[in-house]
């Protein structure tokens, strides 16, 4: 019963703050709502017994990536935000309509797509030794993707440094 209440509260907060992110007037407010959103998503992960990913979400996503965004917003200190001038070519309604098409596509796939062998409605039972098992998988079964991910991060770091320099 508590699990149900937690899920509904967390989902309401996640979706509510997501809407606030995309409709915020000021970019910094949008970023702050995004941080709150990520914290609630981390709470959802704890509910799903994924403690390691929850902490990584807070540490990397909320505490690293979004700080990057905040830094850039402060360095790009604009006098008037882009939304301030009216643009005749703006077709906001068309954007929402296209998004509804995407949503309809998802619903179609969910309703009429191929359904694999049934998954038990009872979930959970994941071990308390969550970190050990995730680490074991990363280093044995999925070692190659792990190494590739570290190369990707190295390349991204070099790329970001080169792109943001004043002179090459």
């Amino acid at each position: 019963m508590e699990g149900q209440l937690a899920f509904y509260v967390l989902s309401a907060c996640i979706l509510g703050f997501a809407v606030l992110v995309i409709t915020a007037r000021s970019t910094v407010h949008g970023i702050l709502f995004l941080v709150l959103d990520f914290l609630f998503v981390a709470g959802l992960y704890v509910l799903l017994q994924a403690q390691f990913v929850a902490v990584i979400q807070v540490l990397v996503y909320a505490g690293g990536i979004v700080i990057l965004y905040l830094f850039v917003v402060m360095l790009v200190n604009l006098k008037r935000p882009p939304e301030a001038h009216k643009d005749r070519h703006r077709r906001g309604r068309l954007g929402v309509a296209l998004s509804l098409v995407v949503l309809a596509e998802f619903v179609m796939i969910a309703l009429f797509g191929y359904v694999g062998p049934g998954v038990g409605a009872e979930g959970g039972g994941l071990s308390v030794r969550n970190v050990e098992r995730v680490g074991w998988m990363l280093y044995t079964d999925y070692l190659v993707p792990f190494e590739l991910a570290s190369v990707l991060l190295l390349v991204a770091m070099i790329g970001a440094i080169v792109l943001a320099r004043r002179e090459l």
Partner: protein, 100 residues
């Protein structure tokens, strides 16, 4: 009883909100934020299925998604900074240097 359908609906709704954000906002930073929302929707899906299939594979995949999101955010913001230095705008409609 919370089944995986609940989580599917939640992640679809979050993904939809991200798509609306990408299609309607003009500020390129808000567009990147909406992309992060979409990535989070995918992550929620992966973790939910890891829970219901009783295996940690979904969590491992979610960690890789977070890595890729970090790399993409860093490079994307570098591009925005470089563009801002040249054109003094973050309005995506004015980022049309490659249009003929």
């Amino acid at each position: 009883m919370i089944t995986q359908t609940h989580y599917l609906v939640l992640s679809t709704a979050l993904f939809f909100i991200g798509v609306v954000g990408v299609m309607t906002r003009r500020n390129v930073i808000v567009i990147l934020l909406s992309i992060e929302l979409m990535l989070n929707a995918v992550n929620i899906n992966l973790i939910a299925f890891s829970y219901y299939l009783k295996s940690e594979i979904g969590q491992v995949f979610a960690i890789f998604v977070i890595c890729v999101a970090a790399a993409e955010a860093a490079v994307g913001l570098g591009i925005i900074l470089a563009f801002y230095r040249n054109k003094e705008t973050v309005n995506i409609d004015e980022m049309n240097l490659m249009r003929w």
